[in-house]
Symmetry: C2
Subunit: 347 residues, 2 copies
DNA sequence: CCGGAAAGTTGAAACGATTCAACTGATCCC
DNA sequence: GGGATCAGTTGAATCGTTTCAACTTTCCGG
């Protein structure tokens, strides 16, 4: 009574295996009375199609994978949500692979996915220069880099958000609120995304003329690092201390917020904060956090769309690199209250 | 130049396909000089094993899936982290499937996983009575229910946390802090986990004699619902208003915290808060949140361990239903400050 | 240097679904 | 009635790997 195959169904229904297969894949081409017989047999025997066998013949599976560096970060799960919708509409299932910030895991997944002959791979790579990515593409598995602005030599599709613009938006906003000394919290050297945000902020202060940016380097982008950054900020003598901080992501900003208010400093009066990503918890903070919102779901949707296009064409697929625009969401953490504004001589 | 198969490798290396397969799966049984030849051929041709074909023969894949109701909830991703470790050690890869709280999606994934003949399925089901779960197990796919305390008729493995105990811990703590009117925020009717937490809290007040519980029903367990619950709480005349709220999860508690402080109410002086799950953002809130911590990673590890045990035995596998103990983490949101304690006549 | 055990290698037969050219009957029209 | 057409149906070949009984080679003690 091992497993029920198409053959058992055929026998039971008194037809050939070809007919069962047709009933399954091209129902229209089978006389309805026959189809009924087959369907009944399938139910009676509890038949479940063996996807491995189908794949073996088809050469491709119906799985789409999104390899993320950290499933714990709501930013990525939101992208996944967006991607899932489009994937499902195309008859593909999206599964998530969590590399947990480890290259080895990421490599392990890529290897597995290649062996599985998955339909396609979305990935926010720990290192976009990983040769496995190109190897995958060479073997005919469409790959799309997610949350990545194309670099010159890129030969893969990618979707990204204009982080320079995002950094600029945040800094311009803070300057408009009257801040002249602004801290940037993050690690521009570790991640290109962060480098861009930093650059955008620096550009804005250059143009604004009377702003300056202080870099508070923070290797990791998590809540704990935010708390530490707050300590360092408070260690600066008050005369020279920045009156605002722009954080490379919301986790950092939340950490700072906690440390600052925990020590009696009022946000935004003493120190204004702007985060990045606009995760759900940003709005839910005790002092709702201003943040640069990335169109996450759109990013996911777009990524799958590109991937399907790539998979669709035979060979000649032009790789694309769309870049979306971020948007500043202003909340209490950076809205200068009237009194403070007056003190700073703002309109 | 289509795809490179084991046959091409065999030809190139001047051996038979059987030998290539052996070199791949039982390297010890192949003379090392032969193995070297084979390996070289594989590299030269860029051979990648076709997992579908292997599966077809083996009857089972090396994929483990965890079907979650909501990847956006850090609680589940932490469980996944725990699970991943054990899975990897066993040579299996764990993928996440996000049902997004929709039954149809969940069903879709289960169907797919069955067709893929996955090695096993972990699931935190939207509805544990879903017949597909048992169907899966009947077809020989090990299934483990996660975050589920076994109900009498259960014929699947499960791992859970004692939510009655968790509810009790939270309520006892609040009572010890001098609170006599306590609100429970959540939807005991929709989810058994929440029902248990509620029951534990009610039990505690019964025994504590001078406590009482007010149920603030909230269908969903997200931040937005928490904000709404806060409104309803504040709508109660102050004389009769609870002085503490125990929320069915941290998202609710964070929502309440935001709404309360946003309207000038001081937590914990006026209203104390306790959440559930102890997600990372709980500690990072502006008023750090007390919460009942569930051993999430341990839950994940245990689930995979059970699953592997189930998969290992031939037929006679005793289903197990371990239940772990939660732990209360007290932070500022429910620590009665000295002055208030004095007013309430506490030691 | 022989016999036999051990080690290494071979190749054909699975695994289960899909495909497709060939076949079978109907149906229709002149 | 004969030929053409068409809708359904058939079953053998195929996908790429694993398995395993049979075979060959190597090794060793006597």
């Amino acid at each position: 009574m091992g497993t029920v195959g198409i053959k058992d169904v055929a026998e039971r229904a008194g037809v050939s295996v070809g007919t069962v297969s047709n009933a399954l894949n091209r129902p229209g081409s089978v006389r309805s009375s026959t189809r009924a017989k087959v369907e009944r047999a399938m139910v009676e025997l509890g038949f479940v199609r063996n996807e491995s066998a189908r794949q073996l013949r088809a050469g491709k599976s119906r799985l789409l994978a999104y390899v993320v560096p950290d499933v714990g970060n709501p930013f990525f799960t939101d992208i996944a949500r967006g991607a899932e919708g489009v994937a499902q509409a195309a008859g593909l299932a999206l599964v998530l692979c969590d590399a947990d910030s480890e290259r080895d895991r990421e490599d392990g997944f890529l290897e597995l996915l290649l062996e599985q002959r998955v339909h396609g791979v979305l990935i926010t790579p720990i290192d976009a220069a990983n040769p496995r990515l190109v190897a995958l593409a060479d073997r005919g598995v469409p790959v799309v880099l997610v949350d990545r602005v194309a670099a010159p030599g890129d030969i893969l599709c990618s979707v990204g958000v204009d982080d320079v613009e995002g950094g600029r938006l945040a800094a311009e906003h803070l300057i408009a609120q009257g801040h002249e000394r602004i801290a940037f919290v993050g690690s521009p050297n570790a991640m290109p995304q962060v480098a861009d945000r930093y650059r955008g902020a620096v550009d804005a202060t250059r143009e604004g003329a009377d702003g300056e940016i202080l870099l508070l380097d923070s290797q990791r982008l998590d809540v704990e690092s935010g708390r530490l950054a707050a300590q360092r900020l408070l260690g600066i003598p008050e005369r020279r201390r920045p009156t605002a901080a722009f954080c490379a992501n919301d986790l950092l900003a939340l950490g700072m917020l906690q440390a600052l208010t925990g020590q009696g400093h009022v946000v935004p009066d003493e120190i204004a904060l702007v985060g990045y990503d606009d995760i759900e918890f940003a709005a839910a903070a005790a002092v709702p956090l201003s943040s640069v919102r990335q169109p996450r779901r759109e990013l996911g949707r777009l990524a799958v769309t590109l991937l399907l296009d790539d998979a669709g064409r035979e060979g000649g697929h032009q790789h694309e690199h769309p870049v979306l625009r971020p948007e500043l969401v202003v909340r209490a953490s950076s809205s200068t209250p009237p009194l403070v504004a007056l003190r700073r001589g703002l309109p």
